[in-house]
């Protein structure tokens, strides 16, 4: 982490300003829409300003004051992070603004925090928790579970992780302010992706034959043949990695199959 983030701020040693529950609820609600105006120029920037804004209304000078406007403009600049991990930034930036940290220190903090919040979130959520929940739900589907159980399991399991991460991030950010970088050293972020990766690898192995079995229906010969085909197909796709995406290849092959099946 860079010096800008590591710099201890005397201001964050002070007791945290009081934030009414209504403001916290507003901030959390807005965090669910943090990517609403996502674009290729400011990325998540406007979303950060949108989420921090309810806290900025608590500035002593009040909303619509020059201080409020300067802070909102500052917080709406370019920012990039994983959308769930951005809650750490939202909490920390809200605290920094209410603690009246110098603007240049806030700018440095924003620059330094963006990268780590993106990479940690990608590894933990997109390459860990999401595929794990998806594969576990597919395994449950393959075991013959009902529609409600499969969909319910996926949504509940995934969103427990999702909501907990957002709430924890907001709390950590608010608690530590500009010193929140230490929160990224949490064991969950260091070891979590590895542990989830192992469990997900097991779930992948179990889910593929189970899901195949349920979709194809009874009959072992066709299933055995299909499993062999999957092994070959997966190997080919791994070898072609970077040259063609599997979903595009599937689109092409399915179009050919459809054409043959209709014309013949």
């Amino acid at each position: 982490m860079t010096a800008g983030v590591a710099t201890a701020s005397a201001a964050t040693e002070r007791p945290a300003p009081h934030v009414p529950p209504r403001t916290w609820i507003s901030i959390f609600g807005r965090m669910l829409a943090i990517q609403g105006a996502w674009n290729y120029e400011s990325l998540l920037g406007n979303g950060i300003g949108f989420c921090v804004e309810p806290a900025l209304q608590l500035l002593p000078e009040g909303p619509r004051s020059p201080e409020y406007r300067a802070a909102l403009a500052r917080e709406s600049h370019y920012f990039n992070a994983h959308p769930y991990m951005a809650s750490i930034a939202v909490g920390a930036l809200a605290r920094a603004e209410l603690d009246r940290e110098p603007p240049e220190r806030i700018e440095r903090f924003r620059t330094a925090l963006a990268g780590p919040l993106g990479s940690v979130g990608d590894r933990l959520v997109w390459a860990g928790w999401l595929p794990f929940c998806s594969l576990a739900a597919l395994a449950i589907f393959g075991l013959g579970a009902s529609t409600g159980v499969v969909v319910g399991f996926f949504l509940v399991a995934y969103n427990i992780g999702h909501v907990v991460l957002r709430v924890w991030g907001l709390r950590m950010g608010w608690k530590h302010g500009l010193r929140v970088a230490s929160a990224l050293g949490n064991p969950v972020f260091r070891r979590g992706p590895q542990i989830i990766g192992r469990v997900a690898a097991f779930a992948t192995g179990a889910a593929i034959p189970l899901a195949l079995g349920r979709i194809i229906g009874p009959g072992r010969s066709l299933l055995g043949l299909d499993l062999a085909g999957v092994a070959v197909g997966s190997f080919i796709l791994v070898r072609l990695q970077g040259r063609i995406e599997g979903w595009r290849l599937s689109l092409l092959l399915l179009a050919i199959i459809a054409l043959i099946s209709v014309i013949r």
């Binding site: 829409a33 674009n39 595929p131 192992r198 189970l210 899901a211 997966s234 179009a255 199959i257 043959i260």
Partner: protein, 229 residues
């Protein structure tokens, strides 16, 4: 088969909502095919059919996780289209799954392109309001968020309506002419989907220590359970 507007409206609304979930709001993964196709199937009256095609699509979707600013297919609206087309054939006629997955993949491709266009549009809107943003205008910051989300909803709803209106009659016509055996057709689709999932899982987990052994253990258990049933 001609799609009636009255049938199209609920599906378009659902496609809009689930398309919104992919990036804009609330990213609770209700847009994943396993969920989206099932809900679309439920809307047609056959949730279990939606789940079946949703599971096949979910296997393919494992390859395209929403990493950062990368361009990826949009599964929410596409799964609604695929789920609804398959649920229109509750007897699972030969070719129904192939054509439903094909329709969903075609829609997801277009959906990914529309998402890129929306992001470019968001940048244009933000550029026009640059002075107000630099001035810390609350109305502008909130307005851009609301405008982006509204546009995303319209994008998803429009995409779903157009894709379903075009592809559902086409699928129905193709099913009437389909000559390949129903189980074989399904086996080919799901085999292809599982191959994509296998390749994707390798990409995601191959660097994790012990993942290969655990994958093999899971595979052994899965095959044992399948042949036990």
């Amino acid at each position: 088969m001609i799609v009636e507007v009255i049938d199209l409206v609920p599906l378009a609304m659902l496609g809009g909502l689930l398309g919104l979930d992919v990036v804009s709001f609330p990213q609770a993964m209700i847009s994943r095919p396993l969920v989206a196709a099932t809900v679309a199937g439920a809307l047609i009256g056959h949730p279990s059919s939606g789940l079946l095609v949703g599971a096949a699509l979910e296997l393919i979707a494992l390859e395209t996780l929403p990493f950062g600013a990368s361009r990826y297919p949009e599964w929410g609206s596409a799964s609604v289209v695929g789920g609804a087309i398959f649920a229109n054939n509750p007897e699972h006629a030969a070719g129904a799954m192939t054509l439903s997955v094909l329709a969903a993949l075609a829609t997801t491709w277009i959906g990914g392109w529309t998402m890129v266009k929306l992001r470019q549009l968001n940048a244009v809107w933000a550029g026009r309001k640059r002075a107000a943003l630099e001035n810390g205008s609350r109305r502008t910051v909130i307005g851009l968020q609301v405008q982006g989300m509204t546009a995303d909803f319209i994008r998803g709803a429009g995409l779903t309506a157009v894709a379903y209106a075009l592809l559902a009659p086409l699928a129905a016509a193709c099913i009437a002419l389909w000559s390949t055996d129903a189980r074989l057709s399904r086996a080919m689709v799901v085999g292809l989907a599982a191959s994509v999932a296998g390749g994707a899982a390798w990409k995601i987990f191959h660097s994790t220590s012990g993942a290969l052994v655990l994958f093999a253990a899971g595979l052994g258990l899965g095959i044992f359970l399948v042949f036990l049933r």
